[in-house]
């Protein structure tokens, strides 16, 4: 799935994080520093769409999902104007028994390349799928649902 890197999207992402790095906001400064255009922050690939509906693929319906781990390798800087082809793959699925019931885990990898096939980034996320909504719906006062605190 192709993702076009837009200046406005870079700025909005950096603003949401509260990151005032001028390379993400000021094109002149980014160019003076040797970049093609505005530089995208290292975690900007998190905004990309890999063209895969994980809820559907993993068949998790409305169950809530948390990210347990996230790793990211940046091979080349991503700049405004780049066209990044993103592929999302589910590389592992397994389950474990937790305090609130059976927890499902999915390991998802994203990879971004340009049209020449050059690798720009690779990420790997471990998603934790909480037990079914049934357990959660009864999660009123006295249930053993694990409080996150």
């Amino acid at each position: 799935m192709v993702n076009e890197v837009e200046k406005g999207a870079i700025r909005r992402f950096a603003e949401a994080v509260g990151d005032n790095n001028p390379l993400y906001r000021d094109e002149e400064q980014a160019k003076a520093a040797g970049y093609r255009s505005l530089l995208a922050p290292p975690t900007f690939p998190g905004t990309f769409d890999g063209g895969l509906d994980l809820r559907e693929v993993l068949n998790i319906g409305s169950r809530s999902v948390l990210v347990g781990e996230h790793s990211l390798e940046n091979h080349q800087p991503i700049c405004a104007g780049d066209r990044i082809y993103v592929t999302t793959r589910v590389v592992d699925i397994y389950e474990k028994l937790g305090t609130g019931g059976v927890m499902d885990f999915a390991v998802v990898e994203d990879e971004g390349r340009d049209e020449k096939g050059e690798l720009f980034f690779r990420t790997r996320r471990t998603l934790v799928v909480r037990p079914t909504a049934k357990t959660e719906a009864s999660a009123a006062p006295a249930t053993p649902t694990p409080a996150p605190h």
Partner: protein, 229 residues
Amino acid sequence: MAVPKRLYLESLRVGDELPTLVKPAIDRVQIARFAGATNDYNPMHVDETAARTAGMPSVFAQAELPMGFMSQFLSDWLKGGRLSRLAVRFVKLVWPGDVLSCKGRVLARRRDEQGRYYVDVDIWAENQKGELVLKGHSTGQLFYNAEDETRQRRGETPLLADVSEMSELPRNAKGKVVRPKTPAPRPVAAAKPISAARPAPKDLAPAQKSKPAHKPVRNAAPAKKAGQR
């Protein structure tokens, strides 16, 4: 334009602490903005009623938000360098009102066979109660010094400096030492012997001891896929 001050590997030592970045308190507006910026409107982050129905005390921040803080923290520190790797494990959820402090410590300095220099750092973030919310490690690519930068930018052969702590090994997200399967090939020009290619376990002990005192809560993530990458 004035050339900003740069960070060079030459000035770093294993065990050096990175300057802490304290982020302003996270609020629901920031969480909503981040949802917009990532085009991910998971109700757990933006819909208070839905979050409570799911048994949560309130909405909570996306994991990628503190991940973005870590990226800011490291990129600011690596002035003139490049963040090439960032791996974190989320230990605790982050809530509206949380004030996160991003911290780090230099774990190793390395040079690869092409003469590029890297710094490996242990990183972690704590909330205002001093609780560990995430931990991991990261790698930045840097020039060794100004001379190395000039040479590499001109396309000349890089400076082959003796990085004495080169033997320190990087660690994975679980904090385990990642040993290279085969010793890295020695660059031709690096004739001087690098004595400690394989450190005695003793060498690593101080680095391990100096890790944050917090014991991460072992419930957020599985132990199975420990050594990914």
